[in-house]
């Protein structure tokens, strides 16, 4: 019935059809490999990063009021109160600005002076075992103590702060309800207006003139106000972002429009080829660890400085965790100290902390990537103004700056870098806390 030409034509159609099937198959395979299809391993990583996997914050045995709501409300007031500074203008919220995910948009924080490093976000900070870029505190309350007496941050002193609490009827009542009686700070012969062990010469001499019991009582008030601030900060958890919305739907097997194709491709890179998830792991996108990622340090460009620095108490370039861990272990305010409410068995992090040179030199704390869009500039002293610059740094194999850096060359294309950056912008969400706790109390 069919002539040879027709048979050839049908065969050709079959050939075209086979080509079409092949194209569909290849297309599907390609789609599965680099778009919104996820294999079992990837799904388990997505679940690990999802906010739904974030447990309640671990208890802080060193702070007996860590989860006391009255302490958190008191701490909220203290956090926003600029009277706790030398000039009455600096509060915790001066640098930890709620609208900027509790950062300040500056390379180096500005209190009464300029600090050494940038302000890290405190969203989700209750999950961290270490605080500051260099981990020089092992509890949230111990962290809060340090800026209050720093001469470039709040600039005040513990004696001054104890008087503020004592003389403010509302604060005095809150304090005594939570912590018990205050010492009789109205006795100015025993308790001068300003005194501190680490302040200026006058404040120091007045501190040394006080009895040991009175000094301990004042330090106890100082510690308790920090424990209340820590109770407030423990409430600062992130809410679900577009990334979380996407993962929630994906884990249910549903389609989601929460992320664009570029953002999905960026997410795939984040948990795969770009290896970001190696350190930025878990629902807070941080392992709370310390790593050397070859961060540029202007001082280290002078090659003789790192060498000289080991002969000085105050290194000329930023050694990070190397110094931080030693400070934490030496601090009277650590988990093992007399102002901690913990038992020794609760203090594993500081007992077993690695202090070795190789493990700590030039290492800094891995920051959360939640709300990363709102926390520029980046790295410990704002070395990078934009996320694009940060990604460019990771994409190359930077030279060792201070100690040995752990990065390996990623070889990501410009398009892949753009996709990664797009994904990072999907991690933005407001804190999961009532609005009244995000601004100064009335």
């Amino acid at each position: 019935m069919f002539n040879t030409r027709m048979i050839r034509l049908i065969s050709f159609h079959r050939y075209l059809y086979a080509l079409f099937v092949c194209w569909l198959l290849f297309n599907n395979v390609a789609y599965a490999a680099d778009s919104s299809e996820w294999d079992e391993v990837e799904l388990s990583i997505l679940k690990m990063q999802w906010i739904g996997s974030l447990p309640a914050p671990p208890p802080d045995p060193s702070n007996q009021v860590a989860d006391n709501i009255d302490a958190a409300r008191f701490g909220h007031k203290l956090f926003f109160d600029s009277r706790f500074s030398s000039g009455g203008k600096v509060s915790c919220a001066t640098c930890h600005v709620p609208e900027k995910s509790f950062t300040d948009g500056l390379a180096k924080a500005e209190g009464v002076g300029t600090t050494m490093r940038g302000t890290p976000s405190i969203i989700g900070v209750a999950h961290s075992p270490w605080f500051f870029w260099d981990g020089r505190s092992d509890s949230l309350w111990a962290q809060a103590l340090s800026p209050l007496e720093s001469d470039v941050e709040h600039g005040g002193n513990r004696m001054q702060y104890a008087h503020i609490i004592y003389n403010d009827a509302d604060y005095r009542k809150s304090y005594q309800n939570i912590f018990g009686p205050l010492p009789n700070l109205g006795d100015h012969d025993r308790f001068p207006k300003n005194a501190a062990p680490n302040g200026n010469a006058d404040a120091k001499s007045r501190w040394n003139a006080m009895t040991e019991t009175d000094r301990n009582d004042v330090t106890r008030v100082f510690v308790n106000m920090s424990k209340a601030i820590a109770a407030y900060e423990r409430l600062l958890m992130p809410s679900a972002s577009r990334f979380d919305e996407y993962v929630a739907a994906t884990l249910q097997g549903d389609n989601s429009n929460a992320l664009t194709n570029d953002e999905i491709a960026g997410l795939k890179l984040f948990i795969g080829k770009a290896m970001c998830v190696t350190c930025h792991q878990g629902p807070l996108f941080t392992n709370h660890g310390f790593h050397n990622v070859g961060a540029p340090d202007p001082a280290s460009k002078k090659s003789w400085i790192p060498f000289l620095s080991f002969f000085k108490d105050k290194p000329l370039f930023d050694v990070g965790r190397y110094k931080g861990v030693k400070e934490a272990q030496a601090s009277e305010f650590n988990c093992l100290g007399e102002y901690s409410d913990a038992n020794e068995s609760d203090c594993a992090e500081i007992k077993f902390a690695n202090t070795k040179y190789l493990a700590t030199l030039g290492a800094f704390k891995v920051p959360t990537l939640r709300n990363i869009s709102a926390t520029a500039p980046y790295f410990h002293f704002g070395q990078f103004a934009t996320l694009s610059e940060v990604l460019d740094h990771y994409n190359k194999t930077p030279e060792d700056v201070v100690g040995h850096n752990e990065l390996t060359e990623l070889k990501l294309s410009n398009n892949e870098l753009a996709q990664l950056e797009a994904f990072l912008h999907s991690l933005t969400s407001p804190p999961a806390i009532t609005a009244e706790l995000l601004s100064a109390p009335d």
């Binding site: 079959r14 050939y15 086979a18 080509l19 092949c22 198959l25 290849f26 395979v29 599965a32 490999a33 294999d39 079992e40 391993v41 388990s44 998830v277 190696t278 350190c279 792991q281 878990g282 392992n287 709370h288 660890g289 310390f290 790593h291 050397n292 594993a348 992090e349 007992k351 077993f352 902390a353 690695n354 202090t355 070795k356 190789l358 493990a359 040995h404 752990e406 390996t408």
Partner: protein, 141 residues
């Protein structure tokens, strides 16, 4: 031509499926709670048991190390020291674990923590009065 194309699709699909199976298998084996190994110079048969199954990320936890000689005799009164890290990243452990003898060839290793996903090594250096040897365990976290 058609047969070639179809064959290629089948091969490509099989390859991808194979990759997926391998990846899933590796992941399932991650952070094993127990493992056994022979020391480098074959003096000791060593096993560990971690407190949690699987071995957790970012959580300090203890292991119990059990040490026997190759004849099955318990190794007691040994000095055990711990090291480890991630060779691919050229860094050590985030903690400095400490060993304490429990008796019966068991040694409590406190302070173990794995802070990153990826391949980790744990090294235990075992020193008796007459022998010094070391044993390595590999973990995929």
């Amino acid at each position: 031509m058609r047969r070639f194309k179809v064959g290629l699709v089948v091969k490509k699909c099989a390859f991808l499926l194979g990759c997926l199976i391998i990846a899933v298998t590796a992941y399932a084996e991650s952070g094993d709670q127990t493992a056994e190994a022979i020391s480098e110079e074959s003096h000791f048969r060593v096993s560990y048991k971690a407190q949690y199954d699987p071995v957790p990320l970012n959580q300090i936890h203890p292991w119990v190390l059990h040490v026997e000689d190759m004849e099955g005799n318990l190794v007691e009164k040994a000095v055990v020291t711990v090291d480890g890290g991630m060779p691919a990243h050229n860094h050590g452990l985030p903690t400095e674990p400490v060993a304490t003898e429990l008796g019966g060839g068991d040694y409590l290793i406190e302070g173990i923590k794995f802070s990153m996903t990826g391949s980790w090594e744990m090294w235990f250096y075992i020193q008796t009065e007459t022998i010094t040897d070391k044993v390595k365990f590999e973990l995929e976290m």
